[in-house]
């Protein structure tokens, strides 16, 4: 029973949930797997931390929570500080390289890779697509899901008229990820 547990964390407004949702959708609809996404709000509906828990599995998923993620996707320092202790030994951390400073706080045996997602997004013309860059980066580094599945999931999920921009962002992250993954 292959099962991968992912935690995506960041701040409200960064598109954290959508990032998790695209991963889940890619797996569940286009990747032939089962996936469950749990959104976690902070105690306040507004202005606070925000995270998504994604379980991707070959089998039906019962318990849907991610207690000890295999993979962390982190877009803020707060999220980094909060979730690093939960990471599975030997797990993987993907982070926004300009907003998160691992600063030696990484447990041993953990693979950590950064991507300047916000800068890439700004370069593409819209800061907002930073989460799609992260998705691409995730896909590129982990190889958990076929690129096509992720591509379709992105197309399904973004507002009409923004497809091209988003695919560019995806590709950018993906390519950057592939390089790192080597």
């Amino acid at each position: 029973m292959a099962k991968t547990e992912i935690r995506v964390g960041g701040l409200g407004g960064q598109g954290v949930i959508l990032c998790g949702s695209i991963i889940g959708k890619a797996a569940a609809i286009h990747g032939g797997k089962h996936a469950t996404l749990i959104q976690a709000f902070g105690p306040e509906a507004r202005g606070s931390a925000c995270s998504a828990q994604v379980t991707v599995s070959d089998d039906v998923i019962g318990y849907p929570y991610v207690k000890n993620p295999d993979i962390l996707v982190l877009m803020s320092q707060d999220a980094f500080n909060q979730f690093i202790p939960q990471l599975k030994p030997g797990g993987m951390v993907l982070y926004e390289a300009e907003l998160v400073k691992p600063d030696g706080k990484l447990p041993e045996g953990v693979r950590a890779m950064g991507v300047p997602a916000t800068r890439f997004a700004e370069e593409l013309g819209r800061r907002l697509v930073l989460n799609i860059v992260m998705v691409g980066f995730f896909a590129g580094v982990t190889g958990l899901l076929p690129f096509e599945a992720v591509e379709k999931a992105v197309l399904d999920s973004v507002p009409r008229g923004t497809e091209e921009l988003n695919l560019k962002a995806l590709k950018k992250g993906y390519d950057f990820g592939r390089e790192q993954a080597v």
Partner: protein, 87 residues
């Protein structure tokens, strides 16, 4: 601001950088356009205001009246000095 510091305008501002959410109210509604965004982020990732043109600050506290986060206020040197003395 210590006494020794250069006093350029008629007043100055005090900023609580970590409380600021970078909304730009203070900057846009400063009557003399004395404020500007810092290049740095605070911990939450927001740019906060700095007194870019200290010469122009009158200490009118318009920034303080507008700030939705209570993160900034202005004061005249005159009043600051009085406070200091009163201490």
């Amino acid at each position: 601001m210590s006494d020794d510091q250069q006093r350029k305008g008629r007043g100055t501002v005090f900023v609580k950088e970590e409380v600021c959410k970078g909304c730009s109210y203070c900057i846009d509604f400063c009557p003399t356009h004395a404020l500007e965004f810092a290049r740095e982020f605070n911990a939450k990732g927001y740019h906060y205001p700095v007194l870019g043109r200290p010469d122009d600050c009158t200490g009118c506290d318009n920034c303080g009246l507008y700030c939705p986060d209570f993160a900034i206020y202005g004061a005249r040197w005159k009043d600051i000095d009085e406070k200091k003395k009163a201490k």
